[in-house]
Amino acid sequence: MIPVSFYLTLAALMFTIGVCGVAIRRNVIVVFMCIELMLNAVNLSMVAFSRTVGNLDGQIGVFFVMVVAAAEAAIGLGIIIALFRSTRSLESSEASELRR
């Protein structure tokens, strides 16, 4: 059996890559994808924990995370399209009107 800390390290690695992606990439869609990545990392760790703990609660959690992720994707993509319409480009650096 593969010890749970292996899965957790894997999940942590994925999470970090996801965060770095969010911080580095300027394209909004890639940022969105990196967020999905981070969510997956969390899901993975939860499933791993659910196996070690021995009940299905972890997996239920993951299920609901997926539901939320789906909802988020719908709205997120809607916003991205709206954003694209207004600023003609998906560079997150351009979309900083809130600050000015």
Binding site: F6, T9, T16, V19, E36, N40, S50, F64
Partner: protein
């Protein structure tokens, strides 16, 4: 078993890096799909069969397709590297590294105490379904409402936009 895990792990990490590193959004999207499929496989290894199927259907099948749609529809170009980005990249990687630095000892030292009774559970659809509709009924309903809201919201954003667009 271990080999499979190593393989899948490598696949997942490589695709994750691919998502971040590759310039063109389509490439990073496909890498993410690969990543998702890899994670689904990992779920299967962790006896979460239902979840791996759902993962593929929901994540890979629906969400990523939407993302692909958006990328293709908006015809997004390759991202030009921005000179100020380098500092940020360094900063981000640095933060990431120290984050891992913190977690690593935690995993190996902290979790030794866990007793591993992984034999007991299997992520079959029946067990999952039963649990879902008994103890977690309320969250399940709440989730459905959430989905409804999301749909309405997406339509609103889309529709309002069309009028805006057409005006």
């Amino acid at each position: 078993m271990m080999i499979l895990f190593a393989l899948l792990g490598a696949l997942v990490i490589a695709s994750a890096i691919g998502v971040v590193a590759l310039r063109h959004p389509i490439h990073s999207a496909l890498c993410l799909v690969l990543n998702l499929v890899g994670v689904a496989a990992l779920y299967a290894m962790l006896d979460a069969h239902f979840l791996s199927a759902v993962q593929i259907i929901v994540y890979a099948g629906a969400i990523m397709v939407l993302v692909l749609f958006v990328i293709m529809l908006l015809n997004i170009k390759v991202e030009q590297p921005h000179r100020r980005g380098i500092i940020l990249t360094l900063l981000a990687t640095l933060a990431g590294v120290c984050f891992l630095g913190i977690l690593a000892p935690l995993f190996y030292r902290g979790l030794r105490g866990f007793t591993d009774h992984s034999s007991k559970i299997e992520g079959t659809v029946e067990a999952f379904g039963e649990l879902l509709f008994t103890r977690y009924l309320f969250p399940f309903e709440a989730a459905s409402v959430l989905i409804m809201v999301a749909i309405v919201g997406a339509v609103m954003i889309g529709k309002r936009h069309q009028q805006g667009g057409s005006k």
